[in-house]
Symmetry: C2
Subunit: 397 residues, 2 copies
């Protein structure tokens, strides 16, 4: 059957593909899935929080009542009742979000890709936090921007620091609530200042918010979307409050932009599964998340506290870490001379994994940082793992 002169292609990739790199985190995850490893490396939510029975019942209901619609091609912008639910959930007394502003996406990673596609030309300046979310850096990098790293501190991004780099930039990407990787949040006064600064510079502000609902105190931060709905692009996800494996997120943007994002999505994958959207709507439409999210908060708050206690007990002086009030991550800063990439080698040999901080920097990396996730590890294993890590760090100091 095969032709006689069958020779493998000598591939010529596009310039954007030639520079693509695998996520370092995904590479680490392959190593750390062995059960004997105590892994603080994952960014996965705890499967104990997945509402399997509710999902099963909803699949049954939707397929029984509307099987042929749910399994047919659907609209690119999404399932209308779910878009309406999202618009309502984001509207406040002073700021109404319209369902037409909502575009459903295949996870919020797809929203990052679509935003990059529609706003970034080669060489466009894109402002990101220092450090920033790795998945966003990866998604935007495909379109070959120049990243400008914006200063951050314990109150999050420093709005004044964007003045110098905002002129001519295409967008600012921020993750203001319980940031990945640092666990930090942007203070409320800074939110207003940031929104105002961006508006003054005609700079689109991307507010990525996968963790906002996971505030341990149960009081979510105000959204920048509601402070300037004509200038903020908001991204949300069902991954952390329901389940990530269904791949369902959304982006909310002013109409001129959301229509472009919709065109980009049409070319990228036509639409996100109707069935998935109908099932999620079926699960959440009667207030399920209001009962469910507090159980996730309680679980994560408990494990976060266990890790903070263990860090205080086991890590040597000279090491500092963030104290998150929500979300899934703690960020650790070691003395300057310790390279956490090298520490990881020692650590894996001792059956403990984490993610070194360097990949989270768009420009110059602080190689003495690392990210710890506590959500999939029991308090006992957290104490055990942090003790091992503390000894390794002490030995290097």
């Amino acid at each position: 059957m095969e032709i006689e002169n069958a020779v493998p292609i000598t591939w010529r990739f596009s310039q954007r593909a030639a520079q693509m790199q695998s996520s370092f985190i995904r590479e680490i995850l392959k190593i750390t899935q062995r059960p004997e490893i105590i892994s603080f490396a994952g960014g996965l939510p705890s499967p104990d929080t997945f509402p399997v029975e509710q999902m099963k019942a909803a699949f049954d209901t939707v397929l029984t009542n509307s099987g042929k619609v749910a399994l047919q091609y659907g609209p690119t912008d999404g399932f209308p009742p779910l878009r309406e639910w999202i618009a309502n959930s984001l509207s406040t007394a002073g700021c109404t979000i319209a369902p037409e502003q909502v575009l459903m996406t295949s996870g919020s990673q797809q929203a990052l890709d679509l935003i990059g596609k529609v706003l970034i030309d080669e060489g466009s300046r894109v402002l990101v936090e220092t450090p920033s979310y790795l998945g966003a850096l990866q998604a935007f990098s495909v379109y070959r921007p120049q990243f400008a790293s914006v200063a951050t501190d314990d109150d999050g991004l420093v709005p004044g620091s964007i003045e110098k780099v905002a002129i001519g930039a295409r967008m600012l990407y921020a993750l203001p609530n319980f940031q990945n990787p640092t666990g930090r949040s942007l203070s409320i006064p800074r939110r207003r200042e940031l929104v105002e600064t961006c508006a003054r510079h005609n700079l689109p502000l991307i507010e990525d918010d996968p963790y906002g609902a996971l505030s341990y105190k149960g009081e979510p931060f105000p959204k920048m979307l509601n402070m300037n709905p004509g200038g903020v692009i908001y991204m949300g996800s069902f991954s952390k409050v329901l389940t990530p494996g269904i791949r369902l997120g959304y982006v909310v943007a002013p109409l001129p932009l959301v229509r472009r994002l919709e065109l980009a999505k049409q070319a990228a994958d036509l639409h996100t599964a109707q069935l998935t959207q109908m099932v999620v709507h079926e699960v959440i439409k009667d207030g399920f998340l209001e009962r469910h999210i507090p159980t996730i908060r309680a679980l994560y708050a408990n494990q976060c506290q266990a890790m903070l206690d263990a860090l205080a007990a086991c890590f040597p002086a000279g090491v500092s870490w963030t104290k998150p009030e929500g979300g899934m991550f703690i960020w650790v800063t070691l003395p300057k001379h310790i390279d956490t990439m090298k520490l990881l080698d020692h650590s894996i040999a001792e059956r403990v994994a984490f993610v070194p901080g360097a990949p989270f920097y768009a420009n110059e990396a602080e190689t003495n940082t690392l990210r710890l996730s506590f959500v999939t590890v029991s308090p006992e294993r957290i104490r055990e793992g942090i003790a091992i890590l503390g000894k390794l760090i002490a030995a290097l100091m």
Copy 2:
């Protein structure tokens, strides 16, 4: 809450976004979904073929047995047992396809996007059939190639016609089986000739095959993939043999390319829903498609024959059309002076819809062509609609 100087952004889109256009077909579909319209415009499979009960049972089984795995993040390349099933289904006595060559995608539209991302630079030459699949033109256009249109006739693409444009081109995109939009198939001798010509020019050959299983005689064409697995990129889909709304397709490529496509997918949407992949595997693993596909073929063959009979009875002399032996479409060529865009206005006023041919051409369009789909319309309505269309065409001649 809103800031005082809230002003809407003046948007500056990327060059690729500034040129994006909505699919003309999707625009037509919005008009033609009114129940009184006899629509031959859709590219949707018939919902009568969706195995709703089997899907429902499989969701229940997978969520019961492996709910927490199915709902968690999963690998970018896909669910291993499904990739293995696909590799087996594409392997022949002389040509083994490895599971590692299979990348699961969010519908085969995503495979088009990823291929464009990884192989096309601005200005790259991309060879396409005349006419070609609109969704592919849309997906590739995002990356701003120069399309070279390759000649076709009733035996499909004319391999000799690529010689002049193959040198320096990045890829050739072909839909060899029951093509969308023409319903034509590439003859077997031409398949070998095309594969050889592409291999000689080191030109990646994309074999898009959503309809191959829908051969009315039940004898699928040989795949070009198996003639030169080192040079052919094969795309498949569950949309036409199972259900499109779940958005599940796949691309099979030589390892150096499939690894790049996987990196591009990681940045684009991390992975395709595990649950969907596990459910599809659950449905098909024991030979379901071998029993199911013949029922789709029989339904479509019957409706295709009804349309061919109606065309012969109702369309005036001077009009010609293809006689597909599979798939979902018939392609009609009217006398040169009739513009099918204008015909559509008349036709919709008479409650009949079709898709004008012009959008399917990458370069100069033949404006006297149109596409008819018969798969979602009953034989009675097919006869009624074709009679109305025949009268309108006769009046213009």
